[in-house]
Structures are given as C-alpha cells and as structure tokens.
Amino acid sequence: MLIRIAFILAFTASPSIYAQVNNVTKKHYIGLSAGYNFSALNDHNFAPLLYYERGKNYLLYYVGVSDKSILSADVNFSNGKLKTKASRFFESKYFKGEIDLSYLRSAFTSANSSMVHYFGAGIHSYNHYIDYDDQESFSFIMAHSIDFKYTASYKLSTRNNLQLQISLPFVVLLVRPPYNGYDEELKENRSNPFSLITNGRVTSINNYFAISNQLIYSYSLSQRFDINCKYKFGLVYAPIEERLVHIHNEIFIGASFIL
C-alpha cells in the first residue's frame, strides 16, 4: 500500500522539480467553483464492497497571496450517489463537507524565478457521510486535522499560472462509527451535533493517512477577474477497526474576483 502511495506522490509532486522563481505580486482572491466528483470508496463499516461515488461539487474560497505568504480559506461541499457492481439495489447517498484554513510562507525561492515555493500549516475539517435507504445503514468519517502544507506556484506567462498544492495531516481528531456501527452513545449524540463531530480519538498517520494533491490552472481575464480549473486527487486511509479507503478524484471550474 505505502509503495503505491509513494509512487503516486512522486508522480504528482514532480512539477516542482522544474521550478524557476519569479516575483509574485500581492493579491486577494475570492471565488466560487463548481465541479464533479468521481471517487471510489471502500468502507468496511458500511460494506465490504467497492463503491463508486459520483456527485456534484461546490467550492467557495478566499486566497490572499503575496511574494512572502499565502493565506487561504475554503469551504467545499459535495453530494451525490454511491453505486456498486454488486447490485442496483445498493445505491446510497453521500454528503461530503470540508473546511480548510491555511497559512504558508515562501521559502527556498531564488530571485527572478517563475516558481515560488511556500511551506506552512493549516487546519482542516473533513466530513463524509453515507446513507442507505434513509438510515437503514450508514457510515461516516470525520477528521479534524492539523496539516502540513506545501504549494508551488509557477507563472507560465503574464496571464497563465499553474499551482500545485499538497497537504498532509499529521495530528487528527478522528471520528468513526462505534464497533458495531451504532450504539446508545451515538444515538444520544444525534441530538447534540458538537458531541457527535468531536467524539473521537486523537491520532496521527498510523491510524489516519490522508493526502490531498491539487493542480490549479488559472487564467487572468482582467485586472479583476480570473478563471480557473482545478483537479484534486486525494487519498484517505483509516485502517483502525473497520478499514476505510477513499480515493478522491474531483474536477472544478470556477472564477475569482480580485479584491
């Protein structure tokens, strides 16, 4: 498993190898994106089967970029259907919500390079819920983490920009269903959302490994507007108790307003 993950990381992280540094002007972006989710899920708490996840994505974000730092905040929501090859009757719904707040500083960047490297940290809340037939069966994973963040911003031309973002959680409050999927404590917490989303264990990459890797291409339409497209690949691997593997493939198209 780890070899496979390393292989994929090596491939997706490789653009930074060709980095060239350039000056980056200070800008504030606020934007909205919509997209499509075509992911795969294997959650043994829910079923031993491989599910294909298809749905719509919505993303609202703020990014403040200067030559020294990036401050970003985004909210991502997705919902849709899960299907499996085993039976057409197993179709289920999913809901996913993510909140991310990050701060990165530039480093290892030489003057006059087209590439700027940023390193930093962020807090991230990842919440994914599956529902079969109005709670006849359900499962969820909630991970509230502190992430290591890396961003490489590459200026292709005056109007074209390419960005690679990688984040890796290293401390996580992980919330998963109890051993038997449902118990009296969970039932009691249903009426108390704060308890529900925080009733977990603090852990690290041994029990929760998640990598998120985003490629963003943006094109500057004017001094005030950018359009962009984004491909996001993510892997979530939680082996404790009932194993979960979730592979995210998401594409977005959006527009930013430059403040």
């Binding site: 994929i8 491939f11 491989l50 069966s137 359900f138 449902y182 690949f233 493939n249």
Partner: protein, 348 residues
C-alpha cells in the same frame, strides 16, 4: 521546460483518473457462494450480540453448513443453506433478503406468522365496539366496548410522526373505568415512539431494562449498560385499570412498550406470549451477490438480569385464538379481557 511540466501533469492525471482505484483499493470482494457464505458468517461472528444468551454454538454451525457450500452451489441452494443456519438463532431481528428476487427470511418467525391469522381488527370493530375512531396518526385508533364502561385502543405499529396523539385518545377515554389496549399483530417500530406512548399511562419512574451494545470480537464484549426508565409524558396520565392484549406477533418496539407498561401498577397483560425480539437491529449489511441482511447487535436485560430474547413476555392471563375462532367471529382474547375486568375489578 514548460512542455515537460505539462506533459508530466497530463501523464500523472491520466494515470490517476484511469487506474488509481485499482492501484490502491484491492480487488472488490468475490461474488462466489463460498465468499458470500463466509462474509455473512464472519460478520455475525464479529458483531452478533446474542450467541451467549441464546446458547448458540456459532462455530459448530459453521462446521455443519460451510461444507455444504461449493463453487457449484446455486443461488437457491445457497439461500436454503444460509436461512437454515440463521434459523438456529430464533431471532426475528435477524433477516436475510434478496431484493432482486424479492425473497425474504426472518429467523424463527413461524409462530409469529401464524398469529397473523389469529386476529382480525374488523371482527373486533364489528362485534365488540360501539364506535371506532381513527386518528391522524395511522397507527392509532380507539373506541368504546359495546354496553360497557370500557374504552378500547388499537395500535398496529410503534411508528409514526405524532406519538403525542395518544394524549388526545387518553383525554377522550379518561372517563371510562378501564381501557383495553390492543397491540396484537403489532410488529414494532421505534423504541422512542413506544416510550412516548407508555408515558401517557405512567404512574412514575421505573427502571424497565438495560441496553448494551457488543463492542469487541469476543462474544461477551459489551459496552457499559445504559439504563432505560419510564417517565410521565403529557398533561395527564390514565391510571385506571388497563388490559393489554398480546399475541406472538408482538415484537421489538411493541415489546419495549409492553415492558414499560407492565412496570406500572394498574396494567395487566392478557393473551399469548410475545415474540421475544428486544435487541435493536443492526445497520443493513450487504453481500457481493446482492443480498442484504441484518441482525441483533445489542443485549437487553431486565432489571433482574434476565434476557428475554427468544423467550418473549408471558402474559398474566394466557389465552389465544385459533384461525377457526376468528372464522366463526369469536375473539377469545377480547372475551377474556372483558371478563377479567369484571372478575378482578368489578368493571362492566
């Protein structure tokens, strides 16, 4: 240099889109008779809550039934083998279903199904009731016994949107000297709903049972006991004699309701022993062949430590109808309840 980057991006993106599911998630579960059997058996082995209390040797059942499953076993043969194995649990909350073929199975339900024919609400309505009113809550109806100062309530399930409708019924029947509360052919619903209904008859707070959920691989691994108490709910409670009518069909949340009610001083049970399905049912589980199943994942104990799963609640006054009684327009259970109110309380 830029071209190299673009080519790399396209290459790695294509790789991810096309094959990462196969790279990272191992092959999907095989849809073979042996694997479907094994997945079902192992899931219950890890999660089913009542092996100890029901004295079921799950390993020995594996030794009996697993060799009967081969790669040549047909779908029908696998269904028979699995249902035979599950029937040893004698547990109405353990079910197997084939949605494609619309096959369904409930463990140990033969007596429960017979009880369906031993009750007829139309007979009760026509022969015994002066009037019979429906409420906006489909599960609840009520009326009055002909020529008696006795109210009548019928609930065919413990599910709905407005359990507080029971308060209106209690208000309407408050002046009668007694109530016959009929829950025959009530297969259950939601425990919270059942507790709310019982709250309209509560004479106080009583410990009725404890719930534990299996939380480990050993059959005796359970979490802490959660105590469940009755409580008064609603503006007024009905505290005059109440006779609850039961049959073998009464199960699950209907039995929860019955346990609540029997903890009150003014309640008596007349009829047949109930089904004995107390544990809450698990999430629906899925098999590679498209079948779904559920099972009991909790242990419910009475305050004295007894587990009644598979046993049921025995009535104070045992009586049951046969199909021929119903066919000849006789409801022995209703007759007995009316006689009991006269003999024990002088109510007519």
């Amino acid at each position: 240099m830029r071209k190299i980057i673009v080519i790399q991006i396209i290459a790695c993106t294509s790789l991810l889109l096309s094959s990462c599911e196969e790279l990272i998630i191992e092959t999907d579960e095989k849809n073979t008779p042996q694997n479907n059997f094994q997945l079902l058996w192992e899931d219950l082995d890890k999660h089913y809550a009542l092996f100890v209390s029901k004295k079921v040797d799950w390993d020995s059942l594996h030794k009996v039934y697993r060799p009967q499953v081969t790669s040549n076993t047909t779908e029908q043969q696998l269904w028979v083998i699995m249902t035979k194995m599950l029937n040893h649990l004698n547990d109405g909350h353990t079910t197997l279903e084939n949605p494609e073929s619309q096959w369904s199975f409930e463990s140990g339900d033969s007596l429960n199904l017979l009880a369906e024919e031993e009750f007829d609400i139309d007979l009760v309505q026509d022969k015994y009731l002066e009037y019979y009113s429906h409420t906006t809550e489909p599960s609840m109806s009520y009326g009055k016994i002909k020529d008696k100062d006795i109210g009548y309530i019928y609930m065919n399930s413990m599910t709905g949107l407005y359990p507080s409708r029971i308060d209106e019924i209690v208000d309407a029947l408050q002046d009668h000297k007694a109530i016959i509360f009929d829950i025959r052919n009530n297969g259950g619903g939601e425990d919270d709903y059942a507790h709310r209904i019982a709250g309209a008859f509560a004479d106080g707070e009583h410990l009725v049972f404890t719930i534990q959920t299996r939380n480990g691989e050993n059959y005796s691994d359970f979490d802490e006991k959660v105590e469940v108490f009755t409580k008064r709910v609603g503006d007024q409670q009905y505290l005059k004699p109440v006779i609850i009518l039961t049959d073998r069909y009464v199960a699950s949340a209907a039995e929860t309701f019955l346990l609540d009610m029997l903890s009150f001083q003014h309640i008596r049970q007349v009829g047949d022993t109930t089904a004995g399905d107390f544990s809450n049912v698990s999430n629906t589980r899925f098999l590679p062949n498209g079948w779904i199943y559920k099972y009991s994942h909790q242990l419910v104990l009475l305050p004295d430590g007894k587990n009644m799963d598979g046993v049921g609640i025995h009535p104070e006054v045992y009586i049951k109808n046969t199909k021929s009684d119903i066919d000849t327009d006789t409801d022995l259970v209703m007759n007995k309840a009316i006689d009991y109110l006269w003999e024990e309380y002088g109510i007519k």
